[in-house]
């Protein structure tokens, strides 16, 4: 070692002395682990959000496939007739029953034209009535009817989830209560009333828990 080296080393030793510091490896390790955990958590949250979006968006078809796996009705074929609603979600059976000999079921599904709700007569008569894209948001209640030749009538439609009662008002001044059917993931509930005799409707009125009107559809 040269004299310069020796002198320089002495100077440098004075300038920055060697310290007996062994550091804190656990602090380094802790920061790295926490970061790794946060990254994993962020990745899981992002994945969950992506899956949620996939399932929540009917157009992706994932929700339908899942519901299909869980036993819901199959998707119908795309509409053969131009302008007909195309289902974007599975047909969900909301209620089934029998009026006399006639079997029926109340079915709803999402479509490219909005929410569809239909009453299907299964046997002995076969028929289907209802519609899509009801103006529930504006009026709080939608209205469809289905009748047999005998005059038996079903009154049904979507209704605000705030509704606790639905009343069918008839032209003769009477009113009949409708049954509220849970919406099963549609974001709305449904109602259904059945009459064995021909009827003339004047209005459907839905009320909330306090008795205030939350939906009304008048029949002109």
């Amino acid at each position: 070692m040269s004299e310069m080296d020796t002198n320089l080393r002495a100077y440098l030793d004075d300038l920055v002395p060697l310290r007996s510091d062994s550091g804190d490896w656990s602090a380094v390790d802790r920061v790295v682990r926490v970061t790794r955990r946060r990254r994993r958590l962020a990745a899981i949250v992002a994945l969950a959000a992506a899956l949620g979006a996939l399932v929540a968006t009917p157009a992706f078809g994932v929700r339908g496939a899942l519901l299909h796996l869980l036993g819901a009705d199959r998707f119908p074929r795309p509409a053969d007739v131009e302008g007909e609603p195309v289902a974007t979600g599975p047909h969900i059976i909301l209620a089934t029953g029998r009026m006399g000999e006639q079997q029926w079921k109340l079915v709803a599904n999402e479509s490219d034209q909005g929410l569809c709700v239909h009453l299907e007569l299964i046997a002995p008569q076969r028929a289907r009535s209802g519609g899509c894209g009801t103006t529930l948001s504006k009026q709080g209640v939608g209205l469809f009817t289905s009748s047999l030749a005998s005059g038996a009538t079903w009154i049904f439609g979507p209704v605000s989830r705030r509704a606790t009662t639905v009343e069918i008002r008839l032209a003769d001044g009477r009113s009949v209560p409708a049954r509220i059917v849970a919406g099963r993931g549609f974001g709305t509930n449904f109602y259904l009333a059945m009459r064995t005799m021909p009827i003339t409707l004047t209005a459907v009125v839905a009320r909330g828990a306090t008795g205030s009107v939350v939906g009304r559809q008048d029949v002109d």
């Binding site: 310069m4 320089l8 300038l15 920055v16 007996s20 510091d21 550091g23 380094v28 790295v32 970061t35």
Partner: protein, 157 residues
């Protein structure tokens, strides 16, 4: 299970922390800043260990990270303090003058001096850290010694 690199990085930290700290302090100018720089450097090394390509020693790669972090932690205040001068009457070169002489060196010569004297790295290892050939390290240290000698002689007058 932790990778071999993680284990090697931890071993480097445990065995050489004092040297990493000393070089970092020489670069950053402050002990606390140097300590933070070394901690941060090892956090980076551990996080990015998979980017180590293995085309040189792991220790050289870690030293490079420590040097870069110490440069990042170097405050303008510490750089200004390095250029101040002190006066003593005992014939020794004052610390302030030595700091100023070292601070006046070109950066790569200064780093080579720190790695040689504070980390005890050989020329090949210094070359790995500074990404230069061994012969270049030799030339850099030779030039640094000359500059220091002249600077210290002037400071002692």
């Amino acid at each position: 299970m932790r990778s071999d690199h993680a284990t090697s990085i931890e071993r480097l930290y445990r065995e050489r922390f004092a040297k990493f700290l000393r070089v970092a302090e020489a670069i950053a100018g402050e002990h606390e800043a140097a300590r933070d720089a070394v901690q941060e450097a090892f956090i980076r090394a551990l996080r990015h260990r998979r980017t180590f390509r293995g085309d040189g020693p792991l220790e050289g790669w870690v030293w490079r990270i420590v040097v870069n972090e110490a440069r990042r932690f170097s405050s303008p205040e510490s750089r200004a303090r390095a250029s101040t001068t002190e006066h003593t009457s005992d014939g020794r070169v004052p610390d302030g003058d030595l700091r100023a002489v070292i601070a006046a060196l070109p950066e790569r010569q200064r780093l080579a001096i720190f790695l040689r004297y504070y980390a005890d790295l050989d020329y090949a290892a210094i070359g790995d850290v500074l990404d230069v050939e061994r012969g270049t390290v030799s030339a850099m240290l030779h030039a640094a010694h000359g500059n220091l000698r002249r600077g210290l002689e002037e400071a002692a007058r």
